[in-house]
């Protein structure tokens, strides 16, 4: 049965002028597009330092030695190839209120994959809920994108979110630091802040994209409600009115602000995205503003 592709050709053409950016300096082989503060085998001069035994003699600044009779070593700036890893939330909370968040997350991940492949980045995508899912790995250019999109299309929702377990598994799997893009609603009853902080402390740069449906942030219902948690199945009966709605939204915004603060504090970036917003507006608006893409 033929399925509709996640992204159409016209939208992909709009993405071709974008590049995924990160702020941290990561070590790596030359071939990337973001400059690093760490010296390496680049072409552009970075700094001098004292010569030590074992340094490459080809990098000694002989002009400085003739003038000062001291050995200084020239250091060069490198643009390393840094892996871009994406974690896409597949928990059942993403399917609440019509499944808009889940679909939105897949499209956003596919868009960032396409942008990364365009700039020859190495892309690794993981779905997750209470554990890390199978890896979707791709690099080498845009012609690899159809395979990535097909595999993203096959992802399905399952399970409840457990950030701590997932991050622990992620850190154990990847030693090389890099950019970690997490697309999720960040709704974990045990909290996700500690797990994310753990990931940032390990040296990864976080780019957090929090998705919510409008019903998640501002429930339109009033009266007597019987609620069921999409992940845990726990029921809750309550009376809901305008005052309660105000408190609810306040709580939600508090939580989102906490995630944002954590991301900024650890040198990462954060974008809160409502699924009511068009995807194009989010990529060229929110993500560009936070310097996630440029």
């Amino acid at each position: 049965m033929a399925t509709t592709p996640l992204l159409d050709r016209e939208f992909l053409e709009k993405l071709e002028r974008l590049t995924i950016h990160w702020q941290k300096s990561f070590a790596g082989l030359v071939g990337g597009h973001n400059k690093s503060r760490l010296p390496g085998s680049g072409q552009e001069f970075l700094d001098h330092r004292n010569f030590h035994h074992g340094d490459d003699l080809r990098a000694i600044n002989w002009h400085a030695y003739l003038r000062l009779e001291k050995l200084f070593l020239k250091m060069f700036q490198v643009e390393p190839r840094v892996p871009v890893r994406m974690l896409v939330d597949l928990s059942t909370s993403m399917t609440a209120h019509g499944g808009g968040k889940f679909e939105y997350a897949r499209k956003l991940a596919a868009s960032l994959c396409y942008v990364g492949l365009l700039r020859l980045d190495s892309i690794e995508v993981h779905g997750f809920s209470n554990r890390l899912g199978h890896r979707i790995s791709s690099s080498g250019g845009r012609h690899r994108f159809p395979g990535v999109m097909d595999r993203l299309s096959l992802l399905g929702p399952e399970g409840a979110t457990d950030y701590l377990a997932v991050i622990r598994e992620f850190i154990g799997s990847y030693q090389q630091r890099g950019l970690v893009v997490i697309i999720s609603d960040f709704l974990d009853d045990r909290g996700c802040e500690r797990a994310l902080q753990y990931l940032a402390d390990f040296g990864h740069e976080l780019m957090l994209v929090q998705l919510w449906a409008e019903e998640d942030r501002n429930p339109p219902w009033t009266g007597e409600l019987e609620l069921r948690d999409a992940e845990t199945g726990v029921d809750l009966k309550l009376d809901f009115d305008d005052e309660a709605r105000r408190r609810y939204t306040f709580q939600f915004d508090e939580y989102a602000a906490a995630i944002q603060t954590m991301a900024h504090r650890s040198g990462g970036r954060y974008a809160g995205v409502s699924t009511a917003q068009p995807l194009e507006n989010v990529i060229f608006g929110e993500l560009v503003r936070m310097r996630g893409v440029a």
């Binding site: 209120h97 998640d216 019987e226 845990t232 309550l238 309660a244 408190r247």
Partner: protein
Amino acid sequence: MYLLNLSLFQMFAVFGAVSAVSVALYLLDRSRRKLVVSTLRFWTAAEQPAVAARRRHISQPWSLILQLVSMALLILALAQVRFGSPASAGRDHVIVLDTSAWMAARSGNRALIDVARQNAREYLRAVPARDRVMLVRADALATPATAFEPDHKKVEAAIQASQPGSTALNLDQALSFARHVQGQDGRRAGEIVFVGSSRTAERDPGMAAPPKNLRVMLTPDNIENSGLRKVGLRRSADDPEQWEIYVSAHNYGTRPRNVTLLLEYGAQNAATRAPVGSEALLLPAGGDGEATFQYRTAYAGILGIKMTPHDAFPSDDQTELELPAMPHLAVTVYSDQPDLLRPLLSATPRLTATYRKPAEYKSDDTGLVILDRFIPPQRPSADSIWIDPPAEGSPIPVKKTVDNVPFSHWDAGQPAAAGLRAKDFKLEKTAVFATAPGDSAVGEVEAGPVVVARAGKPKIVVLGFHPALSPMRYELAWPLLFANLLRWVSPEIFLRSEVGGGSVGTVKLQVADDVTAKDIHVTTDDGSPVPFTLREKTLDFFAGAPGAVRVLAGDHEYMYSLTLPQLGDVKWEAPPNAPHGIPHFSVVMEHITDVWPWLALLGAAGLLIEWLLYGRFRMAKLATRTMTKRTAEAAEVRR
């Protein structure tokens, strides 16, 4: 205030049922809504859980009240609540307009129907606009021309379109019908107004008394009238070409009257007919006069009967009857001894016999062919009687030939053997036939059938002997057998025709004893069947419109020309307490206020307001507006 459509109990029952359904739906609709959400962490922080999980209560009482009030208003609109008293509500009147044949009579320069129509229109104008009126046209049958119409213009148009019919007024039936239709509707019965003449058909004394709400608007009809009542024609027993004509006339007036009956005969065009007889009659007041005529003709034509001088009701002063031609059967006899058969065939005037030698045989003869001891090279295409045919070539195979055998019996069940009893003769020589299925053995000897009839097209009769050359020639059975065979071959030639002229309505006719319902066919001139009853040899049928009716009963044919109008003899006396003339209805009838349209509008408006204030419309709009606002706010905060 009262309800037009529902009783108070019915209205409360309907409102109770609707309210119960509404409240149930309301509670279901507004009860706890079940939702699946992404997480409960913000909900628990926002609100304390409800204490009573199963308790249902009305969270929006004004919404429910608005719904119930709106529905009460709609039910009141359906019930057609009115201000005023039921006594002042509209009523249903029935105008019984006399459209009998007599209404075509002229009084002065106007016909009676014109006067009656004028009276009916005046009554209609006096009826309050709120009242409904039904028009019933009454002659022998009561026919509703309209339903109970609130639109009096439609009734007036129906009155204007009413024309006199051909039958007499059956007033009892018309009044009974009017009373019946008034009782069928739930509205208040108004008046039954009879507009017309007092001349009706004979009344049944067992009929119910006139209705109490009867109003009478009689049309003056002191008109002197006399007219033809009945005409009868039949062929003379002595001379079939001679018609015996009987004419009966009646004087409906109060003074004796001298009239002249004039008979004309000829073609369809009356101007070309020739007078064939006349007779003067003195008709006593309310009495009958009769005259008989004789007229000889073998040809078909139109017999016109006129009564002069004409009077104010000319419809019954003349009639026309179509006389059929004398039927003839052409008989071709092939025989070397024609004298043996000549006496038989010349005795019947309806036969025209032609005698030929066998050598002159032609196979395309029409009518009836008689072959006397002769086998033709080609069988005749017409019906045929074969007398003593040679064994080889007989249309019915000869089984054997026997000599000197006594005649055994006639088959009484066969029409060809009807009335034959003689069997005391011997046949010197006769052929015995081998019959096939479908063949009828008319006469038999011990060895088998000797006279056989084969139905079909053409009909064939075979005689194994020559009756005129056998001892049978001394028996009466010989001419009877031949007459039966001729009648069996061509029954239409021997029909005994009678022609009658009369008025439309019920026609009674005495039929022969041996005629059963299966032998009777009653048809109109276009061939369509007319329902009839047969009770104790009396045939009854009803003709509601002028025209010709043909009755075929056995060997009798009756042609009825029912063109004379049917006039009633009975003068109806209106009940002394029945009001006459144009009524004066009370003006209070107009002061009734219909409020149901306003109630319906209010009810609909209430439901609309409830939907706008509390319904899904408001929820959807509110949700959309809030989401848009919050999305914009959130985007602004992120920036």
